[in-house]
Every structure is written in C-alpha cells, then in structure tokens.
Amino acid sequence: MLRFLARRFLLLIPVVLGVATLTFVLMHMAPGDPARTYLGDRATPAALAALRHQWGLDQPLWRQYLTFMGGLAVGNLGQSMFFHHSILTLLAIRLPPTLWLMGMATLFSIVISVPLATWMAVSRGGIVDAGVRSFNSIAQGTPLFFTGAVLIAIFSLHFRWFPVAGYGNDLSQHIASLVLPSISIALAIVPFLVRGLRGALMDALSSEYVSFAKAKGLGRRSIWINYALKNAAITGISILGIQVGYLAGGTLVVENVFAIPGMGTFLMSGILNRDFPVVQASALVFALLVIFVYLLTDIAYGLCDPRVRVK
C-alpha cells in the first residue's frame, strides 16, 4: 500500500510541472495588461511602469517563469497582484467551501442514487423504470444554473428553509448554505450513477453466485447487501470517481449562482483580472484536487474489490 502511494506521489511532480508551465504560457499569451486593468484610463506611463515593476512584469518571460517555479519549489505561491494578500491566505479562504461542496455533493449523489437504482433493479421495468428514466433525462438536460435558481425560488424564498445565497459565518451556517448547491450538483451526477448502478445491480442479481446464494437459503437482505450492492459498488465507485473529478473544476456555475466564495469563482476572477499568481495557483490546486480524487477512487476500489488488491 505504501509503495502504491509513494508511486502516486512521485507521479505528481510531472503533473505539477506540466500544469504550471501550461498556465504560465497561456496567461502570458492572452492580450490584456494587468497593470492597465488595475490602474484604469488615466494612469500615467510612470504609474504603469512602476506597477509593472512592482509585479515583476517587466522582467523577461523566462526569468518570470523561473521565479515562479522557484517559488513553487519552496511552497511560496506569491501574492495576488490585485488583492495584495498572499495566495496561501486567499486559498485558505476559497478552498474549504469548494471542498465542502464537493463532499456534500458526493454524499447527496450517493444518498439519492442508491435507493433509486435499487428500486429500479427490484421493479425490473414498468412504471418505476419509466419514471426514474424520465427523472434522469430531466436532471441531465437541465442546466445547473436553472436547477439552482428553481431550488432557491422554492426552498429559500418560498419555504425559507435555507439561506438564499452566500456561505455563512460558522459551521452550521456553512452547511445550511451548501445544502441546495450540493443538491443541484448531485442532480447532475445522479443520472450517470443511477444508470450505472442499475445495470450493475441487475447483472449481479442475475448472476450465478446470487442464484447459488438463494439456493443456499440466504435471506433477501443478506443477498442484497453482501452480494448485489457490494459488487455493484465497484461500478458505482468508478463512475462516481470520474464525475467528482469533473466536479473539481466544475463548481464555478453553482458558486456563481449561490454566491459561494470557492475556487471556481476565484479562478474566474483571476483570469478576468489577469491576476497571474491567482490563476497559476488555482490551476495547480485544481490539478492536485483531481489527482487526489482519482487516488481516493483507486483506494476505495481496492477496498471494495479484493481482486484488485492482490496486484
């Protein structure tokens, strides 16, 4: 296990180098001068030059690149050009909401998908099947901001069960604020998960080992939990892992609609402001998040499926 983790961590290095270099190149290729954006129309050439010097933008590109990479090596991500705060301080503010959002969305996805998939597998066609399939199509076809807006209109404005937007000031407020956004995201993941789980469950239920278990006289509950669900979980974990991986970079729309100060909006405003340190740090964080999610998926996979562990 340790060797497996160690290998994974070593693989991080080329990924970090690649992402850092790519973001650096792309940001500097884009037109738009951050100093001009910051200082506005009436900035004197002297003021612009002073600010560019302060931000290190007057250095040759290769030197800016080396400065950045050097800083990265010692964990110094620099300062945001626009906010004059260290990137690490800003990440400490923006990363937790995104992590909470991803975690709660994953939880809701599982909580919604497993019963639905089980119900479909047990009913084997008929009205339940048609009903859940329609629900899946609607959930998949509805844009995230619309789902979010509808949930806000019903549960925040009408019933007043949840705050309309924002993130709150303490843990209970954080969680209350993230319920509706997490459900919005979960509804985008649920169709994939339900389809996969249903297929896997039906395969499991019609397999030989389940027939044997029934013949042995095992109870229904025991068969479901120890045989059907455990085997279907393997497929479920793969699908969930990929979806959550997309999620790492995809929370932007939900963060925008629900005014959650997360990584998505942090990256977006960094790009619009041409705040290079912010963009570079955010891209790295996203890359690391995705890798971490895949790592967790592989570990969970190994936990569920002993056949994989033997390798």
Binding site: P31, D33, F82, F83, H85, V164, A165, F266
Partner: protein, 518 residues
C-alpha cells in the same frame, strides 16, 4: 334649495373628524420617519473591493467603500450642483486667484484618537499627487500646499483654477493620518485609519468587507447603523434573491430586465432610481479608415435608433443622448439633439464620403455584457441597411479594454461617469486627446476645443464657463468623433425597511444617513 339640517350636521361632523384626525395622522407619519438607531446593513454588489488606500484605486467598488471610512475637505451636494462643507467649514480663493484657503473643523479625530489637523491634510493630498497614483491628474493644478496653522490649509495653484474645491471633494483626496500613522501604505491599505462614519471591522478579500460605526464620528448622532457589510455577489439574479429573501438590504445595480418584476414584488423590495452622471457612447476609432471622415461618422450616428435602444436594452430606464456631457452637469447643453434616426440622411452622408457604397467593419463587444451584445446586434441590422457590414467581435473585458486603449478596434462601446461635481474632469475625458482616454478612445484631436477647455478652467464665473463648455459640446457634436447613445440613472433595489438611502450623482452612498426600521 335649503340645505337640510341633518346634511349640515353630517358635514360638520365629517369636517370635525377630518380636522381632529389629521394632526394625529401627520404626527404618526412623522414618528415613522424619525430615524432609529441600530441595525446591520448588508449591501450586495457585483464588483470586488481591491484596496482601502484612498490614493490607490480607480474602481468604483473600492472608491465607494473608502468614502464610508474617510472624510474629504468638502462634500459634493447630492444633486451635483456644487460642493458643501465637510472637514473644511469654509474656503475662499485669493484675490489673484492663485491660491485657495481652507479652514478646518475643530474637534475631528481619527479612529486611533489622533486629532485631524492641517498636517494630515497636506500629507494626504501629497500622496495623491505622486505619479504612481492613478488619480494624480486631479491634483495636477496644485503647485504647493502650506499649513500656516493647525486648522488652516493653503493650496497654491499654478494658474487660477476654478474646479479646485470640487477636486477637494473627490475620494482620492480623502484625509489620512500623517505618515499613515506610522504604517507602510500596504499595511495601511489593510488596516485603514480614517475619520469617517464607519471603521473597518474585517475584510475577507474577494468575499466581503465589514465596517462598524465610528463612535467618535464628528457628526453628532450619526451614523444610525451599527454596521455595514459589502458582499460581492456576481450574479444579478442572486443579488435580487438576497434582497427579496431579506439576507441583504441593498442590491447595487439590478439587471434592467428585472426592474419591473422587483417593482411589482409587493412592497417588500423597492426600486430607487437616482440621477447619475453616466453617459454611454459608441466609440469610433477615428484613426482607422474610413472613420477618419466625419461624414462616415455622421452616417453611422444617423443610423442609430436611440429611442428603440432605450426601450429594448434599458427597458425604458434612460433618455436618448444629444450632448456629450450629462444632464446632471450645469455645463450640459440641452439644445444639442445629436443626429436623429434617419436612414435617408445616413445614406446622404455616406454618399458624400470616400466610401459611398458602404464598407465592412467590426464592432468589439465585452464578453459577459448582454446589453452590449444586444446593442451591437441592433446596430448591425441598421447599418446593413445603408451598406455597412458589421461583424461582432467578442473579447473578454481585459482584452477589450486593451484594444480600446491601444486603438486596436473599429467600433466599440464605452461610457463615462464623473468623480467630481465640476464639468472639468469629463469635458476633458471625452473631448480632449490628453484628457485620459484619448477622447474616449476616438483619438480625436481638436486644438480649438482644448483651448476653450483650458480657458474655462481658469475662470470663476459659472456663466462664462458654461458659454465655453457649450461651444465645446457643439463643435464636438458637429464632428461626432463618437456617438452619444443615452443617459442612464443609477438604480438600486432595497428592502422596504431601508430609509435615507440617497446615492450622489458622483456615485458615493454616504451610508451615515441610512437607517433601518423594524
């Protein structure tokens, strides 16, 4: 016919009832209008606060917040007609016109307990004069600042300069403690010390900033509110939802398309429409052929149906523009109507130009701005009718801004708002090549206009200045380097329990006067 006794009786009773009820009703209404102390106000806005150092920012999001924590020598009058006392109780110009003397109010302290004196004023203005400050141009006329005593400041100007009092009301000339109370500018930007109605409590960059009332504020009894919080919420629907849901009390700039719905929301949310100095333009790059020809520009101006734009883009919240100054300015020439929408006239202008059969061109639009997209599409359709084929190019705001600054565009959209209540800033910004934006990105150069503008700044008599400013606007209108589109108001949505909210023409809020009812 004789009036019946019963009828007379009833009339008498009714009159007596009316007379006795009305004082109660009036005093009842007055009781509701008495400001109540306390309450926490939350304002949601789209833009992010960047800095709390007065001499640093150019963005309204930072400027309007800074004005809550700091004071200036003078304050603009809410309707934009001039300036009134704030930290300075009186001011006067010398006989030769070359200096202005300001007498400071006694008893004002900063939030760290230090008294505010002329030393602090001199230091503050000098920070803004530094070339690294983006608003140094506003103090360009100042030659020297002297402080004969602790409560007197004398500002000497290079030439007689009438706009100086208005310049002393601008946020960039906010008064900070001498030497930033021992802090570096960077540290001061995060832990500001001002003399304003509110003081900083906490700032989470990119998320929200919170202020609490300044208990030592020199205006007795103000502010009413206990705290004000500015939250950054990019999505306009979310902002509207927050006000409707009671999570926020003021929504800055709701989308035009949502205003009718907000107004009809049954009293829970009110919509305030306030006079603004904003004027929107179609910017035309006069250095790109064929836009260097005035008839081409006149043809374009005559193809724009401004009334329809106001209806479709602004949902009626605006007026078609003529002169390039805003109606909120005393220099506004209301006799200028611009070029009326007339496709026949447009074709006639084009026929006189070097490109009588039309030409192809691009219009650059800021991405994410649906108002600009809609306007561009309307223009595209109109201009096609006179033979001008337009492609719409969408760039992200930073790239689009860059293009405008460097003249890498054909046509685009722009606007201006004034930071001072004197016409001097905007008359230059739009009309003069060296006014800060190359004549609002048109790169138009007119020496006669520049001369009139400089002349007007040296004169004190408002009537004489108005005559010159009108000449400027009329000449500019003839040449049409850009096309003024419309004048728009400032629009805010706020909860029914918010009272006393009155943003100025210059945009600042002055939340010291705002109070919340239960």
């Amino acid at each position: 016919m004789r009036a019946s006794p019963i009828g007379l009786c009833l009339i008498g009773l009714a009159t007596a009832a009316a007379v006795s009820v009305s004082p109660l009703a009036v005093s009842g209404a007055r009781a509701q209008e008495t400001p109540q102390q306390g309450g926490d106000l939350v304002m949601v806005r789209a833009e992010q606060l960047r800095t709390l150092l007065p001499s640093a920012p150019t963005d309204n999001a930072s400027i309007w917040v800074i004005e809550e924590a700091f004071d200036t020598l003078l304050l603009p009058k809410a309707d934009g007609s001039g300036v009134g006392p704030d930290l300075a109780t009186s001011w006067s110009q010398s006989a030769d016109g070359l200096s202005w003397t300001f007498h400071l109010r006694h008893g004002v302290t900063f939030t760290n307990g230090q008294p505010l004196t002329s030393k602090d004023v001199k230091f503050s203005i000098e920070q803004t004069q530094k070339p690294s400050s983006p608003f140094s141009f506003i103090d360009a006329s100042i030659a020297k600042i002297t402080t004969p005593d602790a409560y007197t400041v004398v500002i000497q100007t290079k030439q007689p300069f009438a706009p100086l009092p208005s310049d002393m009301a601008i946020f960039a000339n906010s008064i900070v403690p001498y030497s930033y109370a021992g802090m570096t500018p960077d540290a001061f930007a995060k832990h500001p010390i001002g003399s304003g109605a509110f003081m900083l409590k906490s700032w989470t960059p990119g998320v929200e900033v919170s202020f609490v009332r300044n208990p030592h504020y020199w205006r007795q009894g103000r502010p009413y509110l206990n705290s004000i919080t500015f939250k950054e919420v990019a999505d306009s629907n979310t902002r509207a939802n927050e006000v409707q849901g009671g999570q926020a009390q003021i929504d800055e700039f709701p989308a035009y398309s949502s205003i009718l719905a907000l107004q009809n929301s049954g009293g829970a949310v009110k919509v305030g429409i306030y006079p603004s100095s904003r004027v929107d333009f179609l910017s035309i790059n006069n250095t790109h052929k064929p836009f260097d020809n005035a008839d081409v520009r006149r043809a374009i101006a005559s193809s724009i149906d401004k009334k329809t734009l106001v209806k479709v883009v602004l949902f009626g919240h605006g007026t078609p523009a003529g002169a390039y100054m805003s109606p909120s300015s005393w220099s506004f020439d209301k006799s200028i109507t611009g070029y009326p929408y007339d496709l026949k006239a447009a074709k006639a202008y084009l026929a006189k130009s070097p490109v009588p059969n039309g030409f192809s061109s691009t219009i650059t639009v800021y991405s994410g701005n649906s108002d600009q997209q809609t306007t561009a599409q309307i223009l595209q359709a109109s201009l096609a009718k006179i033979g001008i084929k337009i492609t719409i190019q969408t760039l992200d705001p930073s790239a689009a801004y860059d293009a405008q600054q460097n003249g890498n565009y054909d046509m685009s959209f722009s606007y201006d708002t004034t930071d001072i209540v004197d016409p001097d800033e905007i008359i230059r910004f739009v009309g003069s090549y060296d006014g800060g934006s190359h004549s609002l990105y048109s790169f138009y150069k007119n020496k006669q206009i520049d001369t009139w503008i400089d002349q007007a700044a040296t004169q004190n008599d408002q009537a004489a200045r108005t005559t010159l400013y009108k000449k400027v606007q009329q000449q500019w209108d003839k040449d049409q380097p850009d096309v003024p589109l419309y004048y728009t108001p400032e629009i805010y949505a706020y909860g029914g329990n918010v009272h006393g909210f009155h943003p100025f023409v210059t945009g600042n809020y002055d939340l010291a006067d705002v109070w919340l009812s239960k």
